[in-house]
Amino acid sequence: MTRRAAMAVSGVGLAIAGYLAVVHYAGAAPVCAIAHGCATVQKSHYAELAGVPVALLGLLGYVAILASLAHDGERARVCTAGLAFAGFGFSAWLTYVEVAELHAICVWCVGSALCMTALAGLSAARLA
């Protein structure tokens, strides 16, 4: 049950990260809109990690989590938890950056952070 829930959450996270990656590579012209604020988060240097788009890293992270969920052995559970905890930690950092540094919130990024938080909880429960 926990494993299925984790798979479902990973699927949602995968879709969000996929969307953000497409937006990143599509290079849509961002603007600062009177009604919606600026595309500050996507344009900031935090949107990339050592030249790799964070959205792509998230996408790969969700793929890896889904792959680890395909198995139910002890190693696979530790692997899932390690990935989910790392994702949760980095998502927490990015959320801090949005609030404290950029003063801008990316709703899709928050959605992915919530998925990672749920995955961290579910994968910890599977280790118990």
Partner: protein, 217 residues
């Protein structure tokens, strides 16, 4: 130590190492300009500016840019678009440039717009805007202080005391009313007017060189 706890510890330890490394890389990226490093403006050197209009007053085409000085996309557009536009179309007398400074992002935008109006009164609006973008900080972080504005003014060759004393309300009102009339809801937005004709919106965001050339043809 029990097996579940050992597994949990292993996962947490591995994740902590990866996360710490990722955060270290993420936090080290990028550079921020400060007021003390506002570079001296050079793009518009030698080009006449009258009442905020840059270039030959009789140029047949008027390109107007709607900006918010806090807008990072406006800074990017300025950096990518203006140098060749100025070189090819403004210096040659084909196009004159206007700017309308909006202030919707926050209080820092309004302070910046008012001082920009003071720079405009001194015939140094465009250098001021260029220097401001070069030193631009994070939106609404309160970075647009008097010290910051003085540094930008100095880099742009603007008398800071006079510029900071400017109210600029008329320019703010004109920018707002023009934006409302033309339906401008985002920055940067560009409009083009031919002769005494009505301005038309040609696009928003960082426009490509091809798109601008087509609009100015």
């Amino acid at each position: 130590m029990s097996n579940p706890l050992r597994r949990l510890l292993a996962a947490v330890t591995a994740a902590a190492v990866v996360t710490a490394a990722a955060i270290a890389v993420s936090a080290s990226g990028g550079t921020k300009h400060t007021a003390a490093t506002a570079p001296v403006s050079t793009t518009f050197r030698g080009i006449p500016e009258h009442a905020g209009v840059l270039g030959n007053p009789n140029a047949p085409i008027t390109l107007t840019e709607y900006v918010d000085l806090q807008c990072p996309i406006c800074a990017e557009a300025s950096e990518q678009t203006l140098p060749w536009l100025v070189q090819n179309d403004v210096r040659t007398g084909k196009v004159k440039l206007q700017i309308r400074t909006l202030h919707f992002i926050g209080p820092d935008s309004e302070r910046a717009a008012r001082v920009a109006s003071g720079a405009k009164a001194q015939g140094r609006l465009w250098p001021f805007v260029e220097s401001f973008y070069a030193a631009q900080g994070q939106e609404n972080s309160g970075y647009v202080t008097d010290a910051f504005l003085r540094s930008v003014a100095k880099a742009a060759g603007v008398n800071a005391d006079k510029a900071l004393a400017a109210g600029g309300q008329a320019d703010l009102d004109q920018a707002d009313s023009d934006a409302t009339r033309l339906g401008v809801t985002a920055t940067p937005t560009f409009t083009v007017a031919r002769g005494d004709g009505q301005p038309k919106v040609i696009g928003s965001g960082v426009l490509s060189r091809a798109a601008l050339e087509k609009a100015l043809r």
